[in-house]
């Protein structure tokens, strides 16, 4: 057994970085799985290039996975990793700027050949100079992995492919983790020599940690003190998919998903396609327009129609969404936003589609809009979206983003009993049925389903007369209907719970966030509260309509700061709606906010002269 020193620490952030073919996403997610089961709070951030395999060894091909774990509550993957695992010079070069001062670099010394250094743009080997500023742990990962699997008769490429598990083994030793969970996964995933090779690489990595003089200390991060219950690790896309499945169960109505593959939303389609045993029908459509068409057709036929996409696809769906607005059919459309315009940065995050979701259709075409705050919140936001869609007979947009989609966090598994069941009603009485009659409270029209005798009626994109639902070109009717559709969406606000303000209920500064910025803002606010700063935070999950109490809350602060990953969409809306001097803290770098950026901005705003 190792007789090395063991230190207890509160939290640590590790970034695994390598070529996109080095298996860094897998390595990171296996480390995360084990860490989650060890009971730490955690937050992850995969950051990978759009190209599946960019030229090996180049900066363009670097793929990274950051995992932050802690014995106390955390909200983000951390601004600066404490440890950087770099599988080659390019991944060192691409990630070094983020590493915290005096941080640890664990690198594959075998990869630092002259050729690889050149590919990464190094004119000289950086390892020597870096050792003066960081703890550099130089391990010949390739050599050690080859030795570990030498007698298995694997080809060199196959043997070398195991080196990520050697690195993972080293990290497991460093943080006193069990190998069990990863080995169980290996047993199910691999067979024969490949299984044995991967297992040996993992174990040898661990033993290397025990015996090497390069690593004198290992660390323990005790379990976090979080609310009792059953937990699992969940990503935003997985939570979105499960929210869709759950909506079907809670509404006792089959789900039909129409989708076309698009980064970073495809995983929602993949996940749901696995669950045909819930009676769910997925249609991989020929394009984005067809995908929403299938979903609207399904809604017309009485199912829960849903379509999932990212920005470019969302824009293609807009005309069909207008039809759903006009025909007042329930529908949920998920936009996993990515950096644009156009193809933009397909694998990078942004919040740039808010105004498009709100105003991107022809004419006045109002739709409720929601945004999840955390990966786990995607589950609940989907339930909320379906509730609104069905109760108000309207399409609803959900704005997730690339960061939420791929990040993961521990998620307290809800009890199905605690999830609210929602009753879906379809009319059956021909005597009282009118296609555009109104529910007095919600203004919803009835959801009549083909196959119901006596309720035969025609829907369509041409303006309809209220109540009767027949085609109408009467000017007064159109004016009335435009306002009625707006009023219907406005009434959704009555069903939204009051906002929670974190911090003083009135004062100098209110930070208003929406969507995935929740983690960074929350962490920044907690840090500043610790320093006694007069700042409050309110986070919006409902972007249209705004919660009824938002206007009152905004009035209680001298200044309003809106951090968002665009150039000021929510800021514009708040200024227009409430005539408040909201100022935007904008970032459009394809990356989420760092806590430090928000802390500094808030400090600067607080320090401004009035």
């Amino acid at each position: 057994m190792s007789t090395k020193k063991v230190e207890e620490i509160d939290h640590v952030a590790i970034r695994f970085a390598g070529d996109s073919g080095d298996g860094m996403q897998l390595t990171g997610s296996k480390f995360t799985e084990t860490t989650a089961l060890a009971g730490n709070d955690l937050s992850t951030f995969p950051d990978y290039p759009a190209e599946i395999r960019a030229p090996a060894g180049t900066l363009a091909g670097v793929s990274g996975f950051q995992v932050h774990f802690s014995s106390s509550e955390i909200f983000t993957p951390a601004d600066n990793p404490d440890v950087l695992v770099a599988m080659n010079p390019a991944s060192l070069k691409a990630n070094l700027k983020d590493l915290r001062p005096n941080g640890t670099i664990i690198l594959n010394g075998d990869a630092f050949s002259q050729k690889n250094l050149e590919k990464a743009g190094y004119t000289e080997d950086p390892r020597g100079p870096l050792a003066t500023q960081y703890k550099v742990v130089d391990i010949p990962l390739t050599t050690l992995t080859r030795e570990a699997v030498a007698d298995l008769g694997l080809s060199k490429p196959d043997a070398d492919r195991c080196k990520n598990f050697f690195a993972l083994g080293v990290m497991y030793w460093m943080y006193n983790r069990s190998l069990d969970v990863t080995e169980q996964w290996m047993n199910a995933k691999f067979k024969g020599e490949i299984l044995e090779a991967n297992r040996r690489a993992l174990r040898n990595g661990y033993h290397f940690g025990e015996i090497t003089e390069l690593l004198p200390v290992s660390f323990v991060v005790p379990p976090a003190k979080i609310a009792a219950g059953t937990y699992r690790n969940i990503s935003g896309n997985q939570a979105t998919a499960w929210g869709i499945i759950a909506a079907g169960e809670l509404m006792n109505t089959p789900v039909v998903l129409g989708a076309y593959p698009i980064t970073p939303a495809s995983d929602i389609l993949h996940e749901i396609a696995r669950y045909r045993n819930f009676g769910i029908k997925t249609v991989q459509a020929e394009d984005e327009i067809a995908a929403v068409g299938v979903a609207i057709g399904a809604s017309y036929a009485g199912m829960l129609g849903v379509t999932t996409t990212s920005g470019p696809g969302y824009i293609l769906k807009q005309e069909a969404l207008g039809l759903a607005v006009m025909t007042e059919l329930p529908l949920v459309v998920v936009d996993v936003q990515r950096a644009g315009p156009s193809t933009g940065l397909p694998t990078k995050t942004e919040q740039g589609d808010l105004l498009a979701a709100l105003y991107g259709r022809n004419s006045d075409s109002p739709m409720p809009i929601l945004a999840p705050a955390t990966p786990g919140d995607c589950f609940y936001v989907m339930l909320e979206a379906f509730r609104i869609a069905v109760q108000y007979m309207t399409p609803v947009a959900v704005l997730s983003d690339g960061y939420l989609a791929n990040s993961s966090e521990p998620w307290k598994v809800p009890s199905v009993e605690d999830l609210k069941k929602i009753e879906v009603q379809h009319p059956t009485d021909p005597a009282t049925f009118r296609p555009y009659s109104r529910n007095e409270e919600t203004l919803a029209r009835p959801w009549a389903v083909p196959g119901t005798p006596g309720l035969e009626h025609r829907l369509g994109g041409i303006e309809k007369e209220n109540i009767s639902g027949t085609v109408s070109y009467v000017p007064e009717n159109h004016d009335f209907m435009v306002r009625l559709r707006a009023e219907k969406v406005a009434r959704v606000a009555k069903s939204i719970p009051p906002l929670k303000v974190e911090g003083p209920s009135r004062g100098k500064l209110l930070v208003v966030g929406w969507g995935s910025t929740h983690g960074a803002i929350t962490a920044a606010i907690r840090q500043l509260h610790g320093e006694g700063c007069d700042v409050a935070h309110v986070h919006l999950r409902h972007l249209n309509p705004f919660p009824s109490d938002l206007g009152e809350i905004l009035k209680n602060y001298e200044k309003i700061l809106v951090p968002e990953l665009n150039t000021g969409h929510l800021t514009l809306l708040l200024r227009a709606e409430y005539l408040v001097p909201a100022q935007c803290f904008s970032k459009v770098a394809g990356q989420p906010f760092r806590i430090g950026e928000i802390v500094n901005k808030i400090r600067a705003v607080l320090a401004e002269e009035k």
């Binding site: 699992r232 499945i245 045993n277 020929e286 299938v294």
Partner: protein, 344 residues
């Protein structure tokens, strides 16, 4: 053909909606509406199970005039909405009504995919070779050289042939009929309905305002004997007036016309026998290549083959998943995989 349909007691009147029809007087659409309203009561399907789905264009007003469920959607996308409806409720009888612009221009992509997926539905494409609702521009089926407001010097687009397009897309049922031949259209509509799979019907339809002479040579019954080739399964490809019959030979995939003497057996002269059930669409493609004025224009069923339909295969996957894993259980799903418990 299916068994004798169950009596529903429905009549033509049950399918007439209260909406005032707003097609131009003399429009070919009236005939199509009338034939369909005649055929539907005979199909043994309750009225509430019919759904008509359309896109945009003159043809796409169709659902408003049918007293069934109807969905007038957006330009070119009717097949996508129809797919969603059929996937959701396979028991419904879904009919897509489209035109040459809606179905083959803006909606060409969806037409390709709905045909290859073989959903069990009927697609009626009204082909008048012109844009009507936007007042007379050339369409993707218009002849090259057609002079319109948007092509004052003549269109320089080569046209697409709807039947070839459908065959190329893998459609399991492809037919062509003409608005003025009520009996023929009714028979084709019945056949299309009875076919299990996507049934594509091109209907030559006259736009009396913007392209009134397009189908003139098919207008009267007598002229149709020489200008059309009536396709009948198992029968030789013979056309022409009595006393001046002609036959179509197909040699090496190349069609040619031969004259037939009175009482002569066309088969012994090498005239091809129509086979709509051939697995390969190659023969039907040759038929589709027969165009005026060199050849008679074929009408009838080009192809009718059986192939598993999308919704059946989807249901098999659902049943299979339930059989293997049991009906999905949300509580189990949420707790599946790796979880851990935090004690109080």
């Amino acid at each position: 053909m299916s068994a004798q349909p169950a009596a529903t007691g429905l009549t033509r009147k049950d399918f007439v909606s209260s909406q005032e029809i707003r097609w131009c007087p003399g429009c070919g659409d009236y005939s199509i509406l009338a034939q369909l309203q005649k055929v539907l009561p005979e199909l043994g399907i309750p009225r509430e199970n019919f759904v008509f789905v359309s896109g945009i264009g003159c043809s796409s007003r169709f659902p408003y005039y049918m007293n069934t469920y109807g969905f007038h959607t957006i330009h070119g996308r009717a097949p996508t909405f129809a797919t969603g409806i059929k996937v959701s409720r396979p028991e419904l009888s879904v009919w897509v009504v489209t035109g040459d612009g809606d179905g083959l221009s803006i909606g060409g992509n969806h037409m390709l995919h709905v045909l290859r997926r073989n959903l069990d539905m009927q697609i009626m494409l009204f082909n008048n070779r012109v844009y009507g609702l936007t007042k007379g521009q050339y369409s993707p089926t218009s002849r090259t050289g057609m002079v319109t407001k948007s092509s004052p010097q003549g269109s320089i687009d080569y046209p697409v042939d709807p039947v070839s397009f459908a065959l190329g897309s893998g459609s399991t049922f492809v037919a062509r009929t003409v608005d003025v031949d009520a009996t023929h259209m009714q028979e084709v509509l019945r056949r299309a309905h009875d076919h299990k799979g996507t049934a594509f019907i091109e209907i030559m339809q006259t736009c009396v305002v913007f392209n009134p002479t397009e189908w003139d040579e098919f207008e009267n019954r007598k002229e149709r004997q020489t200008t059309t080739l009536q396709l009948e399964n198992g029968k030789p490809l013979v056309f022409g007036a009595p006393g001046a019959l002609k036959g179509i030979r197909i040699e090496g995939g190349v069609p040619s016309i031969i004259d037939l003497a009175d009482g002569e057996d066309p088969v012994s002269r090498g005239v091809a026998i129509h086979r709509e059930d051939l697995e390969s669409p190659a023969y039907a493609m040759v038929l589709a290549s027969l165009v005026r004025p060199e050849f008679p224009f074929p009408i009838g069923v080009f192809r009718a083959v059986e192939k598993p339909v999308y919704t059946d295969m989807l249901q098999i996957q659902i049943d299979d998943a339930v059989a293997k894993r049991g009906r999905g259980n949300l509580e189990k799903l949420l707790n599946s995989g790796q979880t851990w418990t935090v004690q109080k």
